[in-house]
């Protein structure tokens, strides 16, 4: 890689980001009614900003790499990303969240839940769950960027990780958390161009759409030979029903992330920043196309890397083996070998954009969870929560870095670590937050007890499955081994491959419904306030 070219392009990019952040800052401090400008935000800006926050290096590098292993069956996740993550999220959740959030004057997702169910404990404990679990998600976003830098510049992964985290920390501390809509939208536009070019160049390189697919289909014998025992049938077909690969693909990757997106704390708050539900209608248009171009391209290209690596005399191997069983290095290795230098530089800023836009909202969410949700509202801390918020951000950056450093030791070789880490976080969010969030938006009868017990059961069952059932994690966590002498209580059965979400979400829904029969209804006056303006 031409380091000089890469450095120049990255510096120009960082200058533009800095300039946009400055403009946004100026605008919000000089306008007399500063936020009117904010609320006049164009639906394109809102949708791209939402999409850029949603899609990170985890989706492009991590899940793209997972596509190199599982094949194009992973595109079911893209379908859910578009249908659930955009259409259902905006149309069925966004509009009500916006109206109810304004009725309650809620500013964070935990605060929305706490005010809706009149429970400070719920707000504080939700904030705590976010504080404890979200660093894992931030860590895998850092890993995705670091993996690419390490590959492109031929430097050690840990050095790349440290360097990348420093850049991100500077961005976050220098004001990357404020007025992010415009920088997010610019970053989203860079991502769109980068991924579009990647798709076109990959298909062109492999002989066109149908030819490229046909070449990959013709490699199915190799897939069966290597992964057949786990249920693989080829990279353009779905795994054998009920096999280990089927359960991992369907329960962890597709459903875990596909459903979990509906209860992402950093995304939910975005709905409250537009001036009318009309803007959400318009944003659906842009968002759908954007997501197709993000995960759709990453997964198609990820699977097709097998054709490239297998037919390249320098490798003559499938993607996973070409990347030395490091799933997360499949996409970086492909870009640095198959693409011209100018594209590697473009992809570098694509990934910087993907990481920055997601990390800024993650640290915004973790900072407010520490300062507002836990310290100010739950523990009743007096005075300004500035110090706690800033400390929360600093500590979570450091913890995220440590997790990103440690994860490769935690999982066994050949695991799609970034995808797995993301799925754990998304699954936990779905199991703990989703039932009460949906109930809070759509039911006037759901009460505080239902929300609390559903939430706690979702958290507890998720953790139990992670520690004692789902072998991918329980094996490395060692608690099950220490207590019961086995890696998983379900060892030898299909349950050891079933994602915690598949058990925890139904339990959480059931407990929410049953607990609703007990306890007091919320005051009618409060319910009327919540649902004011909701048709």
């Amino acid at each position: 890689m031409n380091v000089l070219l890469l450095s120049i392009i990255v510096l120009i990019y960082l200058f533009i980001i800095g300039y946009l952040a400055y403009i946004a800052y100026r605008r919000t401090t000089t306008a007399t009614d500063y936020m009117l400008a904010g609320r006049n935000i164009h639906p394109y800006i809102m949708a791209i900003s939402y999409g850029a926050t949603f899609i990170s290096t985890s989706a492009i590098v991590g899940f793209g790499g997972a596509a190199g292993v599982f094949g194009m069956g992973i595109l079911w996740l893209t379908f859910l990303n578009i249908f659930m993550g955009i259409f259902v999220a905006f149309v069925f959740f966004g509009k009500r969240t916006r109206t109810m959030g304004l009725n309650l004057n809620a500013h964070t997702f935990p605060e929305f839940l706490g005010l809706r169910f009149q429970s400070r404990f719920l707000q504080g404990f939700s904030g705590l769950v976010i504080l404890v679990a979200m660093p894992l998600y931030a860590a895998v976003v850092l890993m995705g960027g670091a993996q690419f830098i390490a590959q492109v510049l031929s430097v050690d992964y840990n050095a790349a990780l440290f360097f990348f985290t420093i850049i991100m920390a500077i961005y976050v501390i220098m004001g990357g958390l404020k007025g992010v809509m415009y920088t997010d939208a610019f970053q989203g536009s860079v991502m769109f161009i980068g991924m579009f070019v990647l798709l076109v160049m990959t298909y062109t390189k492999l002989g066109g759409v149908v030819t490229a697919h046909s070449k990959l289909t013709a490699m199915s014998d190799i897939a069966v030979q290597i992964f057949g025992a786990k249920g693989h049938t080829g990279w353009t077909s779905f795994p054998v029903f009920g096999s280990e690969y089927w359960w991992t693909l369907v329960s962890s990757v597709v459903l875990g992330v596909g459903i979990g997106v509906l209860a992402q704390p950093q995304l939910v708050v975005r709905f409250m920043t537009v001036k009318a539900n009309r803007e959400l209608n318009r944003a659906v248009l842009v968002g759908g196309v954007f997501i197709l171009m993000m995960t759709g391209v990453a997964f198609i290209v990820g699977a097709l890397t097998n054709v490239y690596f297998f037919n390249n005399p320098n490798f003559n191997k499938i993607a996973l083996l070409a990347a030395d069983k490091n799933v997360d290095n499949i996409i970086p290795l492909y870009i640095s070998n198959a693409m011209p230098h100018w594209f590697t530089a473009l992809f570098m800023i694509t990934l910087l954009s993907a990481a920055m836009s997601t990390l800024s909202s993650q640290f915004h969410t973790m900072g407010t969870a520490a300062g507002r949700d836990v310290y100010e509202k739950w523990l009743g801390g007096k005075g300004s929560p500035v110090l706690i918020t800033k400390m929360g951000i600093m500590v979570t950056i450091i913890i995220s870095l440590i997790i990103a450093w440690g994860l490769p030791f935690f999982f066994e070789g050949g695991t799609a670590i970034i995808a797995r880490g993301t799925a754990i976080f998304f699954g936990l969010c779905a199991a703990s937050f989703l039932p009460m969030y949906v109930g809070g938006l759509y039911s006037k009868k759901i009460n505080k007890q239902a929300a609390l017990w559903g939430f706690l059961s979702g958290v507890i069952v998720s953790l139990f499955c992670l520690f004692f059932i789902h072998t991918k994690e329980s094996q490395s966590l060692l608690v099950c081994k220490a207590l019961f002498g086995v890696d998983s209580l379900a060892a030898g059965t299909k349950w050891e491959f079933v994602d915690p979400l598949i058990v925890a979400l139904p339990v959480s829904i059931l407990v929410t419904i049953i607990a609703g029969f007990f306890g007091k209804q919320l005051p009618e006056e409060h319910i009327n306030k919540c649902f004011q303006g909701i048709k």
Binding site: T28, H107, L177, L216, A276, R278, P385
Partner: protein, 60 residues
């Protein structure tokens, strides 16, 4: 039944669903472009929300 050189019906189906779900978003956006705009005036609630949000941003 397969399309575009893909290996099975399942993956062929998801390619079709990707196009259809994106079209759904595009058509929904176009058809409802001007719907739900009655609350487009900035209300007192929104002003209050925005001021509070500004205060929160100061803590970051």
């Amino acid at each position: 039944m397969t399309i575009l050189g893909l290996g099975d019906f399942n993956v062929s189906l998801v390619f079709i669903l990707l196009i259809l779900s994106t079209l759904l978003c595009v058509i929904y956006g176009i058809v409802r472009w001007n719907e739900d705009g009655e609350d487009a005036k900035i209300s007192g609630k929104e002003k209050q929300w925005d001021k509070e949000e500004k205060n929160i941003e100061e803590t970051l």
